[in-house]
Amino acid sequence: MSQGCISPDGKPTERALELLKLLLEKKKLSDLEIAEILKRPLFQVRSSLRELEKMGFIEKIEGFYGITEKGRRLL
């Protein structure tokens, strides 16, 4: 299936960068908090989080998301 966070040329999409930058700044946030701050629909935020977590750019600890070293290198 096509992805929402990495564009066909292998670069992170604007949506992914926006989310990673937010996690770099705020450290730990829940999916609801991210949706509220970014003013994006919750389902879209959850989809992005799942994809970025699968690729190792973010991690989920006790319901909160944070950026990983691999995610920092992407920015």
Partner: protein, 227 residues
């Protein structure tokens, strides 16, 4: 030889919403997982670039605030590609100024449509009927509505149904016929009395359509008055 008919199980009220993964106009989704905690109006339409569906999408989009107030996420579907969906909603935006700000599932192979019983072969074997599934924040199907291809849905009835379900849950009550959450007048204007002119099926007719004296938003989307 006896004909063998494929029987598709259809989801019913009270069932868990069947799971699927799909691409939408707003990115990939995992359903209903990504929507947990919100009510969902999951609805199908027969096809992109068709007039009745266009009126429905515009009506849904114009009522976005009402759905937001009720913690409802809209989710559309038709057996069309994501490119077709995108081209259509861009066309609607260009011609009417209305932004379609909810996702539409691209279901080219009809897999999701069959999973949800949105294909009714007696009506059409290739286009989904106008189905509406109201799914609660726990992913359970709470109401189902089916309309045929020829009749556009009443969005205010969908909002009324959500109000009724949310009221029933909150107060442990049931709602009677014609119940509404607060006194209101459903305003209908002359515009509501107009009907859709069947869209042209050839390029030649499409070119002519805009010169035929109908009220057209685009070649495929024209209305007329029966009076």
């Amino acid at each position: 030889m006896e004909e063998v008919k494929e029987i598709q199980p259809m989801p019913r009220i009270g069932d868990e919403a069947p799971k699927f993964e799909a691409m939408t106009t707003m990115g990939p989704i995992s359903f209903p997982e990504d929507f947990k905690g919100q009510w969902v109006v999951f609805f199908s339409h027969p096809a992109d670039f068709t007039p009745v569906c266009s009126t429905e999408f515009l009506a849904f989009a114009k009522m976005k605030e009402e759905f937001d107030k009720r913690n409802v996420q809209l989710l559309g579907l038709s057996i069309d590609s994501n490119f077709s969906h995108i081209a259509w909603i861009m066309n609607l935006k260009e011609k009417t100024g209305v932004e379609i700000s909810f996702p539409i599932v691209a279901d080219v192979d009809g897999k999701v449509a069959r999973l949800y019983g949105m294909l009714h072969p007696g009506e059409s074997s290739t286009a989904t009927v106008r189905a509406v599934f109201i799914i609660d924040p726990n992913g359970k199907i709470r109401a189902i509505i089916y309309y045929p291809l020829s009749c556009g849905r009443n969005m205010k009835e969908i909002v009324r149904l959500i109000d009724a379900l949310q009221t029933a849950d909150k107060y442990g009550v049931a709602t009677p016929a014609n119940w509404v959450s607060e006194p209101q007048v459903w305003e209908y204007t002359e515009e509501n009395t107009k009907v859709i002119v069947p869209p042209p099926t050839t390029y030649e007719d499409a070119v002519k359509r805009l010169k035929e004296g109908y009220e057209c938003i685009d070649w495929y989307f024209c209305k007329k008055s029966l009076k």
